[in-house]
């Protein structure tokens, strides 16, 4: 399905990001993964770069020194990397707050703008941001996290206008709770709250990775050139 496509995925070493890497590799893509930590995944069509996405200079350097020279093109970008500290606003540490803004929002901006410089050359591209149901549900303790995720919805919508001349689409997939490390880091009381939220969704279950892949494939498809500036929420969140 993705033969000859170059796919760039952030947050690629674990969780949803790692599942995305495996999905695209299984479907014949050449995949570039980025995360702060090393990856345990190995494949001849996979390259991993350990980059601190909170550092805009590191992102710029990655594209200029590695991606432009080695790959010459990018077809699909998935901005998946995110950090979450669930805490009441008044006691959220400054470092955790700035990390969320830097990784969840600014890195999406910098990766997207560097990628589109390559996508222009092929006159096509897909940028997909991984959002969150927190935007809609606005849970207590996730003020900044939800705000950064709301911001990337808007980011995609504006970039969709800026990049449409190059046939680059920009969309967001907002996933509901899914069993990953990020979810497990919540306190027991927060987990109970998430379970309660999930039980009230139209489809009262956590997301499965296939639910995510289904929408990713839809956004990434060559046929989806007319699908842009859209946000899809899983599980009936609205």
């Amino acid at each position: 399905m993705y033969k000859n496509k170059v796919v760039f995925i952030t947050g690629a070493s674990r969780g949803v990001g790692l599942s995305l890497v495996k999905h695209f590799i299984e479907n014949k893509a050449c995949v570039i993964g980025v995360s702060k930590s090393e990856s345990t995944f190995a494949n001849s069509n996979y390259s991993h770069f350990s980059v601190d996405l909170a550092d805009p200079e590191a992102i710029s350097k990655l594209f200029k020194k590695e991606i432009h020279k080695k790959y010459k093109k990018i077809d699909i970008v998935i901005n998946n990397a995110a950090v979450l500290t669930s805490q009441y606003s008044m006691v959220l540490p400054i470092k955790n707050a700035t990390d969320m803004v830097n990784v969840n929002l600014l890195a999406v901006f910098f990766v997207s703008r560097e990628a589109v410089k390559l996508m222009r050359n092929n006159d096509q591209g897909r940028i997909i941001n991984i959002g969150s149901m927190a935007v809609s549900l606005e849970p207590i303790g996730d003020a900044l996290y939800a705000a950064t995720k709301a911001a990337i919805n808007t980011l995609a919508n504006v970039m969709a206008k800026e990049f449409s001349n190059y046939n680059v689409t920009c969309n967001t997939l907002s996933i509901s709770a899914i069993d990953t490390d990020m979810l497990f880091q919540h306190s027991d009381s927060a987990k109970l709250k998430i379970d309660e939220i999930i039980s009230n969704l139209p489809v009262p279950r956590k997301a499965l990775i296939d639910d995510v892949l289904n929408v990713i494939d839809f956004y990434a498809s060559d046929r989806s050139s007319y699908i842009t500036a859209q946000t899809i929420y899983l599980g009936g969140v609205n």
């Binding site: 200029k64 432009h68 410089k117 800026e162 001349n165």
Partner: protein, 97 residues
């Protein structure tokens, strides 16, 4: 780097940009061609493409990391992006500083 060499590069980049236009939108590339403002030959998105292409060219061909849109450029009373000639002057300044 000589100004004439930079002028040649900038004009080549504008010509590459022009090649992406349809026949009825094509324009003559000359030193005083207006790039920015109400009399501009190209729209703002095309100017952005030209800037990105030019920055990339200098990095790819000469290993020079130049930024044509930093504060130094954007706060000038006379924009470096007015014409091909003023853009050339600005790049000449940046490259040789």
């Amino acid at each position: 780097m000589e100004r004439t060499e930079i002028l040649k590069i900038v004009k080549e980049q504008v010509e590459l940009l022009r090649d992406t236009f349809s026949e009825d939108e094509k324009f003559v590339v000359e030193d005083e061609m207006v790039l920015f403002g109400s009399n501009s030959t190209i729209d703002s998105l095309s100017l952005v493409s030209l800037i990105v292409d030019t920055e990339s060219y200098f990095f790819d061909e000469y290993g020079l990391e130049i930024s044509l849109t930093d504060d130094n450029a954007m706060t000038r009373s006379v924009s470096p992006f007015n014409t091909i000639s003023t853009l050339t002057d600005y790049i000449f300044e940046v490259v040789n500083t």
